[in-house]
Symmetry: C2
Subunit: 693 residues, 2 copies
Amino acid sequence: MSATRTAPRELLSPGSIAIVGASDDATKTAGRPLRFLRAGGYGGRVYPVARRDTVMGERAYPSLAALPERPDHAFVLLPTGGAMEAVAECARLGIPAVTVLAGGFSETGPEGAAREAALRTLLAGTATRLLGPNSIGLANLHRGMVLTANAAFAEPDLPRGGLFVASQSGSMIGAILSRGRQRGLGFGGLVSVGAEVDLEIGAILASTLDDPEITAYLLFLETMRGADALRGFALGAAARGRPVIAYKLGRSPEAAELAESHTGALAGEDDVADAFLRDLGIARVDTLEGLLEAPALLRRLPIRARGARPPSVGVVTTTGGGAAMVVDGLGVRGVSVQAPSEETRARLAAAGIEGGHGRILDLTLAGTRPEVMGPALRTLLAAPEFDLVVAVAGSSSRFQPELAVQPVVEAAGDAAHLAAFCVPEAPQALTMLAEAGVPAFRTPEACADAIAAAFARREPRADDAPAPALPGPGRMLDEAEAYALLAGLGVPAAPHAAMEASAAGRSPLPFPYPVVVKVLHRDILHKTDLGGVALGIGSDAALAEAASRIVASVAAHRPELGAGRVLVQAMARPVGEVLLGFRRDPQVGPVILLAAGGVLTEILRDRCVRLAPVDEAGAREMIAEVRGLRALEGYRGRPRGDMAALAAAIAALSRLAARPDVLECEINPLMVLEEGRGVLAVDAVLRVAGEAG
Amino acid sequence: MSATRTAPRELLSPGSIAIVGASDDATKTAGRPLRFLRAGGYGGRVYPVARRDTVMGERAYPSLAALPERPDHAFVLLPTGGAMEAVAECARLGIPAVTVLAGGFSETGPEGAAREAALRTLLAGTATRLLGPNSIGLANLHRGMVLTANAAFAEPDLPRGGLFVASQSGSMIGAILSRGRQRGLGFGGLVSVGAEVDLEIGAILASTLDDPEITAYLLFLETMRGADALRGFALGAAARGRPVIAYKLGRSPEAAELAESHTGALAGEDDVADAFLRDLGIARVDTLEGLLEAPALLRRLPIRARGARPPSVGVVTTTGGGAAMVVDGLGVRGVSVQAPSEETRARLAAAGIEGGHGRILDLTLAGTRPEVMGPALRTLLAAPEFDLVVAVAGSSSRFQPELAVQPVVEAAGDAAHLAAFCVPEAPQALTMLAEAGVPAFRTPEACADAIAAAFARREPRADDAPAPALPGPGRMLDEAEAYALLAGLGVPAAPHAAMEASAAGRSPLPFPYPVVVKVLHRDILHKTDLGGVALGIGSDAALAEAASRIVASVAAHRPELGAGRVLVQAMARPVGEVLLGFRRDPQVGPVILLAAGGVLTEILRDRCVRLAPVDEAGAREMIAEVRGLRALEGYRGRPRGDMAALAAAIAALSRLAARPDVLECEINPLMVLEEGRGVLAVDAVLRVAGEAG
């Protein structure tokens, strides 16, 4: 993680702009920025730099040095080679902000990576900060500063408002602007962050925190870069109550690979990024519509406290089938729609409202009247059991919004935990709802996506900043050393004794037979492959024999190790086993990982990742998210595992985040014994900082 | 499964209509049908039946009997009680089609179920066929017959076209109509099928197969009803090359529960419904947008043959980030975007096209020109490796469709396997694409959803009609009898011998020790719970002891069974195990189920269901869909299981579909041995038709 650079004021609010490589042809990419600045009514000074006297009728200048003033911001539209020279010129002249359109850097291979390194060198120690390269530009709509080559900005009266967009894909700023306009959204600024060689997305976003016109942030991410800067920004946004919503590519392996080839950055593991975003209070959506429609919901719905009970959503509708689409979408995203409580049902009955006995309050076609919908909605909104109430309006919302939509509008004043979905195409109803401030969704998928993303957020913690790991490749501990370190954290191991193989079975063990015997050497990770493990040893004689067989087998495979020691360990009888891991992700820092044991959960990727450290409440949430661990919770009459001890072990291992000397650790398996009997590590790999062994 | 009733011509094409319970108030539910019929320009005769002289200025009649003619179709808008009387009157008068709006039948509980039974009795043996109850009506737009109380039909010039909609949710016909209009789609007919007490959705759909104006079908399903009728319809639609697209609720357990409470029908298991739909060539989409946007794609993309290689999708784009949304969406749905082949890359290079070395052909901003996009697209379309080529156009598509969209339009004439996604809001581009017949998508999610649904379809088989099971609760076979029946099918069991417990260990076994001993009795399913199993028996003496212990334990728990026999079985050393099941689903008929063994895959629901029978190619597809089975395919250096023998066993068990005497069978586990060594059942439960034992 690199030191965060601050985005200069001149990036988004320049008083003067140079367009280097401006084209005279308004339809060409390099013709667009000047055209858009003029169409946008930008009030500052604009200087085209080109090899001609005029550009689109405006005076042009032969070079940056020839300008009548040092511009605040230079947008460089030249191809890669010329762009490098222009950046060097910007740095020489002390131009505060430069944006580079050209690609041809580390996304293209080793040669491009060398060019990128040269670019960094050009900028080092200068007053010039760079947006890009590979940035299609940026816009500050409140100042008419439409400094971009993105073709979707080619229209007058771009929609101004409180949304701020930062995107790792240049095309997406145009897509979000145009799709947002169609939904009546307004934007304060939009930035294509490009390759983030100098200014990282977090730094750019952070520079807007003091802009009072910004109300919410939309992020389009292809990969995780600049975690520190992003963390600082997210804390600032949370402190100001501004929601941050991210669409991040990479749910599928194909997209992760694509992000790498497209951006030149390592994509990292998607669930690590997921943990990072949610831990910073950033809502991650899975649909493009959800990205656009979530802000209205998130501006009203507070981030839930850590350790709060699972969220509860109530649904009232005039159409069971339409509402079921939302319920289904929420269900597959792990958010459960709950039936009204007995008390709430009694209150509904007292108001003369029948809504069936099911999970949703279905007023049916016959209840499509304000005198039914109104009291029903108000009763649900007043009920203590719901964190959110969703009103789903049927076909009447298209031409008769007075029937089932007007009551939603009227209820909006009293309750922030209200959202709406209109099943038909219903533009008039959506306008009414938007004007009343009710988050309203156009598709059941966006509705479910935004709600699930809102509830997945966690209050960001100011103490999350991780201790940076000590440098160097590090070295492995052997299994006995690893257990000792883990014991210090509070993670117990099964009783064990380390000894020379020649001593095994010659003196009494401090624990009863049967035992397992394993070769003990810090450089042997896959003991079984070398014949280095014997299970179910029941006597001193068998132990001596097994120990000698093991060292012989290991010596035959890896004579150079001189491995002569073994670890003898009591055998546990667990209810089940888990994999518990800690590591330092190069992008987001220390993370803790929990998975059900065994090869199947590895294949099925049934695991949960969180930023470390987590407390026991966080650990319990992790346990709940690994579906396979239900097998340990008394599933179908099986004995229940000691889940409290498991949560304690997860929290304990996650405290390695504060130990910069520990680089990574994997306990596989950690045996979960019956309730009240604890957990026991029976294998562990641990790498600490320092010289390679 | 009941006998299929045929929908009368008068349902969708009546010459005269009676509206029973028509309201004089045009804004009321019961006022809508007359208003809509008049607005739609329906050319037939319309008779309001109401207790007043006129309805909306038209002459009204006091009863159906008082009409000047027997109407072809009566739409009954009365509440439940009155509706029952009106249906009785329709039946008496021989009115061919009657549609009932009222609810209050089996969705409301036992009293409603009794009412529903009475309704069936009313209709039995008459010439009257019923749509509903709980139907909001139907429309035949080509005849202006807008016979519905759905408020979304309240507009002139409803969009006519080739789509036919059938929905189990009444509200959704309005939602699909209005959302489709907004997308430029046109409709032939829309039917709210209601509770399908008489006419089932399949029969209604089948009645349109000879209508030449219908080009595709959209189904909105809450539950599976009338599988026979649906099967007949689907075969007819496939024979005519008309795609059928279904949105079915029930991916989440919450929605399945909701469908039951909403419709009164058992929802059944969602993956069984999924198997049914795909086996009939019906494309199941997961998004509402996908339902609307899939027809254009499916009309061009043929159903893939059974056993074809996995589909291959190529992507060409001017925006890597925008295209990655589609790639990601396809990836999570199991459809992999493939890089162009070496040959194709060579052809691209020869045409001067650079597109990176990644999975997609990314022309970048610099390639946003027809002279690049055109040849690139034509080269991919000509490449033999792609079943579909998706063109993803960036921001230029909003205002400069001539750059990257016009080349797509021009390529459309030559290739049916082409689709497009515009990343920004781009109405002009979408219109151009629609006019050229190119399936174009508005969201990356709908794009991925429709493509995945298209490729998941299977050619429907005319021989799918299952042998109906023999009636009765049936009786269990004991384990030895089950093995004998399975052996006849070609599913081998581990070597075993059945004997009296008192004889166990007294004579040599026909297979070597160690063995497992199990109590043998047809009425004991959970042997372990009764102490009825002993593993790892290594000698005659141990066998005699174990057998006697087992019968003693079982006798202590269940003395009434008089269980005195045991099954002795050789122990297998498998690579892994699976669960293989066959049963007769009450809705869709015989199905075969494959899951990885063990409690984890049960919790994770990692399983695959298909309609039975399947051939070995189908069985191999099933194996590929159970993710956990990758552990048997040489995962991380493990030995490879005998997957060919597994496929043969799946196909063999599925042939039980043709054995009406077998009701269900579960082999759990079926041991998968090393490659070349086959598979072995080591436990089996089998229920056959006949008297309960």
